[in-house]
């Protein structure tokens, strides 16, 4: 990373006796698009509001562009923000909403108009400039909020679940649009979401949060392919989570012995170990002696792939989930009750010390 644009150090926040943020350290580079991802109530919004200064942190410090902002009121910081509700001023037109912050700058009328027109073009709202927010669709309102937040050319753009109120199609379209605008302007952006697909497709880096702490920071590829903790592993994408015992450099799960290519530090002999593998990483053959014996319990057609639930008594009670590409599945004549063999490649197994959730 080059010079970090935003630095958070030891951010804690309590509401009364409840600690919602339990020490957050984070650096964000200039022009980065970062997603805060995590389950509901984990503190994403609280962290975003602390960065904005809307809910001051209980302890910890923040720097933005080399300036300490820890105690500054929001109006003295440099950010634009879009809320889930958009918070558009209903009695002002689209033009007036976008120009809201510009007017206060005592700019010349012509200058304001030029800037608003430019922003309206950016978010494709030129035809709607004279309308009131209530006369726009949800997606259009969202763009107004975005344009308003960008009007003062802030160094930092904060988005709190900006797409969650929209239907799937509009959402997909706006994802791409927000990302392209962000790239064009090069504005450092933090987006809060609890939609992992949104985070995976949009973010340069994902900050995965759980219960007031950062669980993992990394590119979408990293958090998906190399989850650092069982929580990340289970939260992002589908994951088979198996519990076993570490013995003689192997993980013993049920009656099977699994050999992983990569072994974490700190695994003692006879220690509990959690073994994770993605459904699409599991191989499946109809017969043969190698692999784990299993019976297909059910099939789901999921469009681009086929999802199987396979009972493998020697591994554990609950079915193992396996995703197969259609061309692989076609040659196998799969059906419920069919006997098969599962292959768990060692380079795809991820091991974590301790027992994951029961």
């Amino acid at each position: 990373m080059t010079q970090p644009y935003l630095v958070l150090s030891g951010i804690r926040k309590s509401f009364g006796a409840i600690e919602v943020l339990k020490g957050i350290d984070l650096e964000i580079g200039t022009g980065e698009f970062v997603c805060f991802l995590g389950p509901s109530g984990c503190g994403k919004t609280t962290l975003l509001r602390a960065i904005a200064g809307l809910d001051r942190q209980t302890s910890g410090r923040l720097w933005q562009a080399g300036r300490e902002i820890s105690t500054l009121p929001p109006s003295a910081r440099d950010f634009g923000i879009v809320f889930q509700s958009y918070a558009l001023f209903p009695n002002l037109t689209v033009f007036e909403n976008i120009a809201y912050g510009l007017v206060n700058r005592r700019l010349a009328k012509a200058e304001i108009k030029a800037r608003v027109d430019e922003l309206a073009r950016l978010v494709h709202l030129e035809p709607h400039i004279a309308k009131y927010p209530a006369q726009l669709s949800g997606g259009q309102q969202q763009r107004v909020a975005l344009a308003r937040a960008l009007a003062l050319s802030p160094g930092l753009l904060l988005l709190d679940e900006p797409l969650s109120a929209l239907d799937a199609q509009v959402r997909g379209h706006l994802r791409a649009e927000i990302r392209s605008i962000q790239r064009r302007l090069g504005v450092t952006t933090i987006m809060v979401t609890h939609d992992q697909e949104e985070a995976l497709t949009m973010a340069d880096r994902i900050v995965l949060m759980n219960d007031g702490r950062i669980e993992q920071v990394g590119s979408p590829r990293e958090v998906y392919g190399r989850p650092a903790t069982p929580f990340t592993a289970a939260f992002i994408g589908q994951m088979n989570v198996l519990s076993g015992i570490w013995a003689d450099g192997c993980a013993r799960v049920g009656a099977e012995t699994l050999v992983a290519a990569e072994v974490p530090d700190g695994l003692g002999d006879r220690a509990d170990v959690t073994v994770c593998i993605r459904p699409e990483d599991i191989g499946l053959t109809a017969n043969g002696a190698a692999g784990v014996a299993a019976t297909i319990a059910g099939l789901e057609f999921c469009g681009s792939f086929l999802r199987l639930h396979a009972a493998a008594p020697s591994l554990r009670e609950a079915p193992i989930v396996v995703d197969l590409a259609p061309e692989r599945a076609n040659g196998l004549a799969l059906g419920p009750g069919m006997e098969c063999r599962l292959h768990l490649p060692g380079d795809r197994l991820r091991l974590y010390p301790g027992t994951a959730r029961p």
């Binding site: 562009a65 300036r67 918070a87 006369q135």
Partner: protein
């Protein structure tokens, strides 16, 4: 993570602002708001408590005043008198209001709009007006005096009748709300099970509105027991608490005893306040978000029965208003019934003539202007401000207080508090300012709750957006919040204005030689035996109150048109 992140830190760091100016301004404004409420509500009430424990000379008297009060059979009898009269008025009012509310909400009877208008008309009359009408109807020279079969209207009969008129719309509004908030699905379920109507009424309707009934009864009882106007005009020699306070404070200058009676009067008011708040909370919780609002089916027999019943009630209400209107236009009741405006020539009957009407309008306009601004700004600071949280909570609580304080008690509270020579605001006594302040305090709670509700409905992130765009919060308040709240502001203005015109209970203690208001003039002229002019003055109040309501309704209509423009697709 490195402790100090960047080497360039010192170089680029801009000078940090020592204080957050906006937050400081908010804090100061919140403190100012709290101080104002302290002076106009809390301290005067505290003065009543202090006074009740003081002897006439101001020395500490312990419980002596209370023992003297409860030891005096004449005074103590008033407690019982007040309780049973108010109780009887409550039973009758709630019963009639229930029938009326049921007709309005649960039937398809015709003429609902007209009936509703007539039903709420008492809200625009001073409480002396029904009493004056009763005198014309049943008094010594009354039109239908015989209907009383020899009983006198002066006393409990007149009191109960006048109170029922005066309290009816208050009970009605609460019951209409309760009956409107019924869940249609419960009725459909009951009917699907083949339940008989009487049983549905007993098992679905009544339980559904029991909190509404409790609330209506509590409000009515408080209004009835603390009302001054009806008791003053038709109370006769039948003593009640409200007139006792007046006699002690104004008649005998016995402030301490007045304070004791005031405290006694505060008990039912505070109890009923607590009951109403609890009932409101339960009522709201009872209706889930997914409930379907009840829509009555036509049923000709039921609709006719309710039309007749509600029609009768409306006729009685209209007659009560009409009697004063008519009597005020008669030359010399009952000898010369020709029409004339002679009663409206107030200068002939009262030293202050028409000036008390102008005073009322100044008071109404002043209280409405001052009250609307104060209430809105304080409510804004509480709901959207950055002032200290504890202080904002405290203001919320204090703002609820006036609802539990009868006007009469607030009136003597002001006398006790502002009349002290040591009080720096002593100079206000006798002037218009103190009447305005008192009226604002008197009607503060409803106005505050109205403003609070409107502010809560506005997106809570506007202030955050405005800060991020570096627009000072006050500008966003003026440019966005106030326009969105305009209908609410107009309602508060109309509410304050109309109530300032009709109320007398607090003002009777506070007016000065140059500030007699119309409602006080009604009482004064009635006292002097000029019942015709008193009726005329009461009617002038009604006409003014109607005008205020029409004007504010018109304004609201204009504003609603503009709001519509923001909303239409």
């Amino acid at each position: 993570m490195t402790e100090i992140p960047m080497g360039t830190l010192g170089a680029i760091e801009r000078p940090r602002r020592a204080v957050d100016v906006e937050r400081l301004v908010h804090t100061l404004a919140t403190v100012a708001g709290a101080l104002i409420l302290l002076v106009i509500i809390v301290l005067p009430l505290a003065a009543v408590f202090v006074k009740a424990f003081q002897a006439r000379d101001g020395s500490f008297a312990g419980l002596a005043n209370f023992t003297a009060y409860f030891g005096n059979p004449a005074l103590f009898r008033s407690v019982w008198n007040s309780v049973w009269v108010a109780g009887l008025a409550t039973v009758i009012t709630v019963g009639l209001a229930f029938v009326f509310a049921y007709g309005l909400t649960r039937t398809r009877m015709r003429g609902k709009t007209l009936l509703q208008l007539v039903a709420i008309s008492p809200l625009l009359t001073p409480s002396m007006l029904p009493a004056i009408s009763l005198v014309y109807l049943f008094g010594n020279q009354g039109v239908i005096k015989d209907w009383l079969m020899g009983q006198s209207i002066y006393g409990p009969i007149g009191l109960v009748a006048g109170l029922v008129y005066y309290c009816f719309p208050h009970a009605l509004m609460i019951l209409v709300t309760a009956l409107t908030l019924a869940d249609q699905r419960l009725y459909e379920a009951a009917e699907a099970l083949g339940t008989r109507p009487a049983r549905i009424f007993r098992t679905v309707t009544l339980p559904g509105i029991r909190f509404g009934l409790i609330g209506a009864a509590a409000v009515t009882f408080t209004l009835a027991i603390t009302d001054f106007g009806v008791a003053k005009v038709v109370g006769g020699r039948f003593n009640v608490l409200a007139t006792d306070v007046y006699k002690q404070v104004v008649g005998q200058n016995n402030f301490s005893m007045g304070a004791v009676v005031g405290l006694v009067l505060l008990i039912p008011a505070i109890l009923s306040f607590a009951v109403t708040r609890a009932a409101e909370r339960r009522q709201r919780a009872a209706l889930t978000a997914r409930a379907v609002l009840f829509a009555p089916q036509p049923a000709s027999f039921r609709d006719t029965v309710f039309l007749v019943a509600c029609g009768l009630i409306a006729v009685v209400l209209a007659v009560m208003l009409g009697m004063s209107a008519y009597a005020s236009l008669v030359k010399l009741w009952p000898y010369d019934l020709s029409l004339s405006l002679i009663s409206y020539d107030f200068a002939e009957h009262d030293a202050d003539g028409w000036s008390s009407v102008w005073n009322s309008l100044i008071l109404g306009g002043g209280a409405a202007a001052v009250g609307t601004v104060l209430v809105f700004v304080v409510a804004y600071l509480v709901e959207k401000g950055q002032g200290p949280r504890g202080l904002r909570e405290a203001i919320r609580v204090v703002a609820l207080l006036p609802m539990a304080v009868p006007g009469l008690v607030l009136g003597i509270a002001y006398v006790f508090f502002f009349n002290q020579p040591a009080n720096p605001l002593n100079g206000l006594v006798g002037g218009m300012a103190i009447l305005i302040i008192n009226t604002v305090a008197h009607f503060y709670t409803v106005a505050h709750l109205t403003a609070q509700t409107a502010l809560k409905q506005i997106d809570g992130e506007f202030e955050a957006v405005s800060a991020s765009l570096r627009v000072p919060q006050y500008k966003t308040m003026l440019r966005v919040t106030v326009p969105l709240c305009l209908p609410t502001l107009i309602s508060i203005f109309g509410y304050m204005f109309a109530n300032a015109l009709t109320t007398a209970s607090a003002l009777i203690f506070l007016y000065g030689p140059d500030t007699k208001v119309a409602s006080v003039a009604v009482i004064a002229m009635d006292d002097a035996g000029n019942v015709g002019p008193a009726a005329a003055m009461a009617m002038v109040i009604v006409y003014c109150a109607v005008a205020v309501r029409l004007i504010t309704a018109g304004l609201n209509h204009l504003v609603a048109g503009r709001l519509q423009r923001w909303r239409q697709r």
